[in-house]
């Protein structure tokens, strides 16, 4: 057969594409459940790390069993709250923080009327995870999501029962510069958040990332990463924007605690 003829070329191309497409879809379908499992385990691991659990994850032979076990033991509740701080129907674990971030970013865009803001806020479904420590203390874990220099950054921040003091935090990123912005994913950076406070005299102040070093005793600031200014600023914005939306929830919980 003439390999230069149009018919041959078209038939050849069609056959090749069909074969390749079949092979690819078979691979993708076959591996899908395993891939999703990996993503799920990673999310659980980050949630646990934000409450200082699963710290020995790198030393265990079966990571996924270890994480599943700890998650079952410590994370006692997970739910969604709306912008008013009330519980909302829905699955917290599978809630994609990116979709919430898109709404939050719109709320914080300039030139948005208050009316539009409250309309946008009605769409929010914010996940909360509750961890019970071995001594019975409850810790509340909130996911946060934002933008770094090159792409998305995200993390989990956990608060004590006073809804003010940070118990732990962990951050991760899609592709910040190694050695600079990427340092946000290391304990040296996120361990600084422990014991910091979100409120000052009842006012929400979030946590500042201070360039050039915080003064000793600053309860609302941590050191920025040298050479990672934009990523550091991204972390600060992320905490402020996301936790602002959780504020009604924090306040409601605090009032409830007082009544009890």
């Amino acid at each position: 057969m003439n390999k230069n003829s149009n018919t041959y070329t078209f038939l050849y191309a069609t056959a090749l594409v069909v074969v390749v497409a079949t092979a690819l879809s078979l691979t993708a379908t076959g591996l899908k459940s395993r891939q999703q499992k990996n993503i799920e385990i990673e999310k659980k691991q980050n949630i646990l790390l934000s409450v200082k659990k699963a710290l020995g994850v790198d030393t265990v032979p079966d990571r996924s069993a270890y994480i599943e076990e700890l998650y079952r033991r410590y994370i006692v509740e997970e739910y969604l709250v709306d912008a008013g701080g009330n519980r909302k129907e829905g699955e917290a674990f599978t809630m994609n923080m990116k979709t919430q971030y898109d709404i939050i970013r719109e709320i914080n865009a300039s030139g948005i009327s208050d009316e539009k803001k409250s309309e946008l806020r009605r769409k929010l479904s914010l996940p909360v995870f509750v961890c019970r420590n071995d001594d019975g203390d409850l810790k509340y874990i909130m996911p946060v999501y934002g933008l770094g220099l090159w792409g998305a950054i995200w993390g989990y921040i956990s608060l004590n029962g006073d809804f003010n003091t940070v118990y732990g935090a962990i951050f991760d990123h899609k592709g910040e510069t190694p050695g600079l912005g990427a340092e946000i994913a290391f304990p040296k950076f996120f361990n600084q958040f422990e014991e910091k406070q979100l409120f000052e005299n009842g006012q929400f102040v979030s946590i500042r990332i201070v360039k050039g070093g915080v003064t000793a005793g600053d309860r609302h600031g941590v050191n920025a990463i040298s050479g990672g200014t934009i990523t550091s600023r991204g972390v600060e914005e992320m905490l402020k924007n996301c936790l602002t939306e959780y504020k009604p929830f924090f306040e409601q919980q605090k009032t409830n605690a007082k009544i009890q």
């Binding site: 390999k3 230069n4 041959y8 070329t9 050849y12 191309a13 090749l16 594409v17 390749v20 092979a23 690819l24 691979t27 993708a28 591996l31 395993r34 891939q35 990996n38 993503i39 990673e42 790198d58 899609k174 592709g175 190694p178 050695g179």
Partner: protein
């Protein structure tokens, strides 16, 4: 190279396999695939996984294209090669996501970018289209390993001097660090891409004087 007529197969296989690892190394001699060599050599683990992934892709793409070489219409030659390479890269990417999740996260887009690695198309065009499947497979694997070897050497130095670790394990004692009262500090340049160029340059220098190229 007229390989079809050569009688001594074992010797030929061995030559095809070792040439790209030493004297004909794709990175240091042919200067192909440099971009990913800069990007994925900050840590030894990602360099190992990347080397392995590229070896699988070069090996199998050469094998497949070589098996198809008598049927491929010359008009769509490059398109056929691209489809084969792209499909293999996607399969490798999917497998990594399922079985080596952490490594695949670190390599992120660079696995997808294997498609654009000049070594693969270069070997298909220069070798697989003109040679028998088994020879092409050996040639592909040899080139992948030659690439991987340089990646591993570069990553060894970058991780050791840039982070003080190897494969994530602390090698430089913690007590040496200035932060802990010692005298040592990690070299920040090593984790930035220019360091890879410098290390690759030194390897090229050593290799050229060794083989008297």
């Amino acid at each position: 190279m007229d390989t079809e007529k050569t009688g001594n197969n074992t010797g030929l296989f061995w030559k095809l396999f070792t040439a790209p690892i030493g004297k004909n190394n794709p990175i240091t001699v042919l200067i192909l695939g440099i971009c990913s060599a800069l990007a994925v050599t900050v840590q030894l683990e990602s360099a190992l996984v990347m080397g392995l992934a590229v070896t699988v892709v070069t090996g199998f793409s050469s094998l497949i294209v070589s098996s198809l070489r008598t049927t491929i219409s010359p008009r769509i030659r490059i398109i056929v090669q691209l489809v084969v390479v792209a499909a293999l890269v996607i399969i490798v990417d999917q497998v990594l996501r399922a079985y080596a999740y952490n490594a695949s996260k670190q390599l992120s887009i660079f696995v997808g970018l294997i498609i654009t690695n000049c070594i693969i198309m270069g070997r298909i065009e220069a070798f697989a289209l003109a040679n028998r499947p088994w020879l092409s497979l050996i040639d592909g694997i040899g080139n992948g390993l030659g690439y991987g070897m340089i990646l591993v050497i570069v990553a060894f130095f970058r991780e050791l001097f840039g982070s003080g670790t190897l494969l994530g394990y602390q090698i430089i004692p913690e007590s040496w660090y200035i932060a802990n009262g010692g005298f040592y500090e990690n070299n920040g340049l090593m984790i930035l891409p220019p360091a890879a160029l410098i290390v690759v340059g030194i390897i090229i220098w050593v290799q050229r004087s060794f083989y008297k190229l």
